[in-house]
C-alpha cells in the first residue's frame, strides 16, 4: 500500500473529531458555471514563461556562499577517519562540516526508530553523506571536497534478495528484513480458486524508476540571529520543511520561515526534508552567511529517492462468464538502504469486485539508494500484474478485455468497506473504447510484415485523490472588489494556483483577472498539507470555495441590509452589490466596507471533513496502439487515449496537461526507465540523464487524446473534484504491455520492455 500517505493521513484522521453538520446554511453545488470547467491559461503563465518565476536556486543573496556535500563512493563502507585540514586551507573555503561538528549529531531515516544520522560513519549505499563544505563559489566548494581525506573500510555489500540469507552483509543491527510481511485478507482464496473455471499464475517484475524532476533538489538558507529563513525546492513548506527542520534544529515553529513560490517538479521526491537543507543551515549558522546548496544531477539520481522495484506473483481465478473468484498476490521488494514503503497491493484488492483476496508483501534492505514516494506509490507496479492478468484471463475464456473488466466492475470500495461517492470507471472504459475505436482496431487482421501492430487497454485507480482536512485558505476582498487568496499549498506544476483563482472567481461572481494568489510562504500563508497524493486539488479547493463563500456571505449580508432586499436577490457586478430585480439598487463594495469600518473583508476557509461512510477515489482507463519491429525489438507508441474520471474538471487545459504528462511518465515506466546497479561494485551505472533515460519529444505519441469523465459527484466535497495527477499515470504502462502482447503474441512480464526484452521473448516463442 502507499504507506507514506496512509501514515500521513492517519496522523490527521486520528486527531479530527467528526464534526456535527454546520448550523449555517449549506453551500450548494454550482448550477451552470461561468469559469469553472473552461480551458484557460494559467494565472502564473507570465511568470513561468518570462523567467520572472523565482525557483529556489534562482535566489541570490548578498554575501551568499555555496555548499557542497562529500558522499561515500562505496556501496557499503565504514568511515574510519576524516582529515579536513587541507580542504580548510583551499582558496575560497569558508567552513567544513562533519558529523563531529557542533549540532551535527542529528538522527535520520526510519521515523521513530532512527536508522542513521545526518553524517553516519556507517555508510550503507553509494551516496551516504560524509562531510560538507561551504566556499565562495560552487567551483571552489567542489575543489575542497576533493581535498578532504577520508579513510574508508570497505564492507561486503548486497544489492539483491540474497540480503535475506543468514550470511549476507548486515545493513542494520536488526538484520536486513524490513519486518513482518504485511497482509491483506478477504474471504478465502482456496475456496475462490476451487470455484474458478480457469486459474492462472504468473510472476511479474518492475524496475526501479527514478523521479528525475527537471529542477534538482536544493535550498538557500539564511539566519537572522535565532530566526531561520529557508527557500527550498519542496512539495510542502509546512510538512516538508518547517516542521521537520524546526524539530531537527530545535527551533520554535514561528522562528522558521519556509518559502517555495515556484517549484520545478518533484513527483514525490521532495515530500521530505533533505539532509542538504539541514547541512546548509548548519554551515550558515557557523559562518553567519547565507548558504546555497544545489545538488548535482548525479546526486539526485543517487540520493533523493526512487520508485522501488517489485517482484510480484499473481494468481487469479475466473469463471467462464468472466467473474473473478480469487486474487492472490505476493510481492517481495527492497526500499534500498533505509525504511520506505514498497507496497503495491491495494489495487489488486480494490479495482475489481472479488470476494476472495490474499496479499502478502515483504521486503529487505540493500546497499542502494533509498526509495521515496513516487507518483501514485505502488500503483503503476501493482497495476502491471493485475491488468496483464485480466487480459490473460480474458484470452483464456475467450472474452474481450473491455468486457471482462466491465463484468467485474464495482461501485463499492472493498478495502474501505463502504460505497464510493462516485465512480466513472465504467464510462472510462466504454467512452475510451469508443474514442479509441477499440472494436475495429482489435478486429483488424495482423500484418504479415515484420512491423506488428497491437492495441491494448488497462484500467486503473488511485487510493487517495480525495483530499481531507486540514487545509486553510484565506480569502481577502479589497475595497475595489479585487480578491487575494493566501494558502500554504504548493503549485508543483499541476495548476493549483490557477484552479484556486478560478473557483474563487466562480463563487464570488468576479472576473478571473480580479483574483490573485499568494502561496507557500509559512510566514504569510496558512497551513496546507504536502502537495502529493493528488490531494491538493480536492483538499485545498473546497477550502478556497468555502472562504470565498464566507466573504460573499458577509458582503451580501451588508448589501441586503443597506439596500433592504433579500440576499438571494443580490449579485456582485463591477465592484458593486446590485439587486437583480431592481438594478438601480446598488452599493459599491467600498461603500459597504467603509460603512462597517473596514478596508477589506477577510475570511478563512477550512476544508470540511469527508463523508464518514463513503469513499472517494479517482479512476482511469488507458488505451495504447503500438508498432513492434520484430527485427529490432523496438516499440513505437503510435497512439494513446486516456479516459480519466477525477470528478469535476476545474480547468480542462491543465487537466489535459496532467493526463498527457502522467501517461508520458507511464510510457517511460513501461518502456524505458530503470536504475542499473553494477553487480561487481554495487554502484549505480546510469547516474546521469544520458544513461538514465526519460521520454523525449521523439518518444511520445503525437496522436494522444484525453477524455474527461465527470460523474457529477455532489458528495465527495463542495466542489465535486478528485485528484488527477496520479490516476493519470497508473495504467499507461500496462496498456502498452497489453498492446505489445496483442502485436506479437508473447507477454512482456518484466518492465521496462526494452528492445532486447522483445527479441528475447520472440526467440523464446520461436524456440518453445
Amino acid at each position: 500500500m502507499s504507506d507514506f500517505y496512509e501514515e500521513l493521513g492517519e496522523s490527521f484522521r486520528a486527531n479530527i473529531e467528526p464534526s456535527a453538520p454546520p448550523a449555517e446554511e449549506k453551500i450548494q453545488p454550482w448550477g451552470e458555471t461561468r469559469i469553472v470547467g473552461k480551458a484557460l491559461p494559467r494565472v502564473d503563465a507570465y511568470e513561468r514563461v518570462s523567467g520572472a518565476a523565482q525557483y529556489t536556486a534562482d535566489i541570490v543573496l548578498p554575501d551568499m556562499i555555496y555548499a557542497a556535500i562529500l558522499r561515500c563512493p562505496h556501496a557499503h563502507a565504514m568511515v574510519k577517519s576524516i582529515d579536513t585540514g587541507a580542504a580548510e586551507k583551499m582558496p575560497g573555503v569558508v567552513a567544513v562540516l562533519t558529523g563531529k561538528s557542533p549540532g551535527a549529531d542529528i538522527p535520520w531515516y526510519g521515523g521513530r526508530t532512527p536508522q542513521s544520522k545526518l553524517f553516519d560513519p556507517h555508510c550503507r549505499y553509494e551516496g551516504d553523506e560524509v562531510a560538507a563544505v561551504a566556499a565562495q563559489t560552487p567551483y571552489q566548494a567542489f575543489d575542497a571536497l576533493k581535498a578532504i581525506k577520508v579513510q574508508y573500510e570497505k564492507l561486503p555489500f548486497v544489492i539483491d534478495e540474497s540480503a535475506l540469507k543468514p550470511e549476507a552483509p548486515k545493513l542494520h543491527e536488526g538484520g536486513n528484513s524490513t519486518g513482518q510481511p504485511r497482509t491483506t485478507k478477504r474471504g478465502d482464496v482456496a475456496k475462490g480458486f476451487a470455484e474458478a473455471d480457469v486459474v492462472l499464475e504468473e510472476t511479474f517484475y518492475t524496475s526501479v524508476q527514478i523521479h528525475v524532476p527537471m529542477e534538482v533538489h536544493g535550498s538557500v538558507v539564511k539566519w537572522d540571529g535565532d530566526k531561520l529563513t529557508v527557500w527550498d525546492s519542496t512539495q510542502g513548506v509546512y510538512d516538508g520543511v518547517l516542521f521537520p527542520i524546526a524539530r531537527a534544529l530545535n527551533l520554535p515553529l514561528n522562528n522558521v520561515r519556509a518559502i517555495c513560490r515556484y517549484m520545478g517538479g518533484a513527483f514525490g521526491s521532495k515530500l521530505e526534508l533533505g539532509k542538504y537543507t539541514v547541512i546548509a543551515a548548519l554551515l550558515s549558522r557557523k559562518t553567519a552567511r547565507p548558504v546555497k546548496v544545489t545538488l548535482s544531477r548525479e546526486e539526485t539520481l543517487l540520493c533523493v529517492g526512487n520508485r522501488p522495484e517489485a517482484k510480484m506473483t499473481l494468481k487469479a481465478g475466473v469463471k467462464k462468464d468472466g467473474t473473478l473468484t480469487a486474487l492472490q498476490l505476493t510481492n517481495v521488494a527492497t526500499p534500498g538502504a533505509y525504511a520506505s514503503g514498497t507496497g503495491v497491493g491495494f489495487q489488486v484488492a480494490e479495482l475489481y469486485k472479488c470476494p476472495n483476496v490474499l496479499i502478502s508483501e515483504s521486503g529487505f534492505y540493500t546497499n542502494a539508494g533509498r526509495a521515496r514516494a513516487f507518483r501514485a506509490p505502488g500503483f503503476p507496479p501493482g497495476n502491471w500484474p493485475l491488468e496483464q492478468m485480466m487480459d490473460m484471463l480474458a484470452e483464456k475464456i475467450g472474452m474481450d478485455p473491455i468486457e471482462i473488466r466491465l463484468r467485474n466492475f464495482t461501485d463499492f470500495s472493498q478495502t474501505r468497506n463502504m460505497p464510493y461517492t462516485s465512480t466513472g470507471l465504467k464510462e472510462c472504459l466504454t467512452e475510451g473504447a469508443k474514442a479509441f475505436g477499440w472494436k475495429e482496431a482489435r478486429a483488424a487482421k495482423k500484418s504479415s510484415s515484420h512491423i506488428k501492430r497491437g492495441f491494448g487497454v488497462a484500467a486503473g485507480m488511485w487510493q487517495m485523490g480525495n483530499g481531507s482536512p486540514p487545509y486553510t485558505a484565506e480569502i481577502r476582498m479589497f475595497v475595489d472588489g479585487g480578491i487575494t487568496i493566501k494558502t500554504g499549498a504548493m503549485d508543483i506544476g499541476t495548476g493549483t494556483k490557477t484552479v484556486a483563482c478560478m473557483v474563487a472567481a466562480e463563487e464570488l461572481g468576479v472576473p478571473l483577472e480580479s483574483v490573485r494568489i499568494e502561496n507557500a510562504d509559512t510566514a504569510v500563508t496558512p497551513y496546507a498539507q504536502l502537495s502529493g497524493g493528488s490531494m491538493t486539488l480536492p483538499g485545498l479547493i473546497p477550502a478556497v470555495r468555502k472562504g470565498a463563500w464566507l466573504v460573499k456571505s458577509q458582503i451580501f449580508a451588508w448589501g441586503a441590509e443597506a439596500l433592504g432586499v433579500a440576499k438571494e436577490d443580490l449579485e456582485l457586478k463591477n465592484n458593486a452589490i446590485v439587486s437583480r430585480s431592481s438594478p438601480e439598487k446598488k452599493k459599491t463594495v467600498e461603500e459597504l466596507m467603509r460603512a462597517h469600518g473596514v478596508m477589506d473583508v477577510i475570511a478563512i476557509g477550512n476544508r470540511d471533513p469527508n463523508p464518514a461512510n463513503k469513499a472517494t477515489m479517482p479512476f482511469a482507463a488507458h488505451f495504447a496502439e503500438v508498432e513492434v519491429n520484430t527485427k529490432t525489438g523496438e516499440v513505437k507508441v503510435v497512439r494513446l487515449v486516456g479516459a480519466n474520471e477525477s470528478g469535476r474538471v476545474i480547468n480542462r487545459k491543465t487537466f489535459d496537461n496532467q493526463v498527457y504528462g502522467g501517461m508520458t511518465m507511464g510510457l517511460g515506466f513501461g518502456l524505458i526507465e530503470k536504475r542499473i546497479l553494477d553487480r561487481q561494485t554495487g554502484k549505480m551505472c546510469n547516474v546521469n540523464m544520458h544513461d538514465y533515460k526519460i521520454p523525449t519529444a521523439l518518444d511520445v505519441a503525437v496522436d494522444h487524446q484525453v477524455i474527461a469523465i465527470d460523474p457529477k459527484d455532489t458528495e465527495c466535497n463542495i466542489v465535486g473534484c478528485k485528484g488527477s495527477g496520479e490516476p493519470a499515470h497508473v495504467p499507461t504502462a500496462s496498456a502498452i504491455a497489453n498492446a505489445i502482447y496483442d502485436a506479437i503474441g508473447v507477454r512482456p512480464t518484466h518492465g521496462p520492455i526494452e528492445p532486447k526484452t522483445i527479441l528475447e521473448l520472440l526467440s523464446k516463442k520461436k524456440g518453445g
Binding site: P41, R42, A45, Y46, E47, R48, V49, S50, G51, A53, Q54, Y55, A57, D58, V60, P91, T137, P138, Y139, H211, V212, P213, M214, E215, V216, Y262, M263, G264, G265, F267, T294, S296, R297, I492, G493, T494, G495, K653, T654, D656, N657, Q658, Y660, G661, G662, M663, T664, M665, N688, M689, H690, I694, P695, T696, A697, L698, V700, V702, H704
Partner: protein, 180 residues
C-alpha cells in the same frame, strides 16, 4: 540538437586579459555589453545565473543532456552549461530574458502561455529558446521538424503535446509580427 561550439571561433588568447586566476571577458548579452572577471573554467551558465543574475536560464543536468540551459549564441541554440564564459566572448548571446519586449512577452513566450505548454515551468526557458531557434531557421516547421527541433530539451512533466501546439502557434504569431 547540436550543442558544441566547434563551428563558432573562440576568442583569441590576446583578447582575454588575465588577473590572478581570473580573466576579464566582455560578454554581449541580450544587446548589452558586460565586462566581468571570471575563472577560465566558469561555464556561461554559471556566469549568467550567479554572477549576472539572469536566472531565467536554468541549471538541471549541468552536462549537456537536458537542454534546460539552452541559450542562443549568434542565433543558434547552445547549451550554456557546456559553454565556457571565455568561449562566449565575441558572440551575441540571447537568453530567455532577451526574448521579451520590455514587460511584454515575445511571440514564442506568448504561445507557450496560451497553449499551457508547461507544468512546473523549469525546462520551459530552454524549450522556448529552442523553439525560437527553430523558427529562426525554419519559420514553417512540420510537426516532425518541431519534434526534432525540441529533441534536445527534456520535459519530465511530459508536457510535450502542449509544447508541440505552442511551437505551431508561435510560428503563426511570429508571422503576424509578434504577440496577439
Amino acid at each position: 540538437m547540436a550543442v558544441s561550439l566547434k563551428d563558432i571561433p573562440a576568442a583569441s588568447a590576446q583578447e582575454i586579459e588575465a588577473v590572478g586566476n581570473t580573466v576579464t571577458v566582455n560578454l554581449r548579452i541580450n544587446g548589452s555589453s558586460r565586462k566581468i572577471l571570471v575563472e577560465p573554467r566558469w561555464s556561461l551558465l554559471y556566469v549568467l545565473r550567479e554572477v549576472l543574475g539572469l536566472t531565467g536560464t536554468k541549471t538541471s543536468c549541468d552536462r549537456g543532456e537536458c537542454g534546460a540551459c539552452t541559450v542562443l549564441i549568434d542565433g543558434k541554440p547552445r547549451y550554456a552549461c557546456l559553454t565556457l564564459a571565455v568561449e562566449a566572448q565575441g558572440h551575441e548571446i540571447t537568453t530567455l530574458e532577451g526574448l521579451m519586449d520590455g514587460e511584454k512577452l515575445g511571440p514564442v513566450q506568448q504561445a507557450f502561455a496560451e497553449e499551457d505548454a508547461f507544468q512546473c515551468g523549469f525546462c520551459t526557458p530552454g524549450q522556448i529558446v529552442a523553439v525560437e531557434a527553430l523558427l529562426r531557421r525554419n519559420p514553417n516547421p512540420t510537426i516532425e521538424q518541431i519534434r526534432h527541433g525540441l529533441s534536445g530539451n527534456l520535459c519530465r512533466c511530459g508536457t510535450y503535446r502542449h509544447i508541440f501546439n505552442a511551437a505551431a502557434k508561435a510560428a503563426e504569431l511570429r508571422k503576424k509580427g509578434g504577440a496577439l
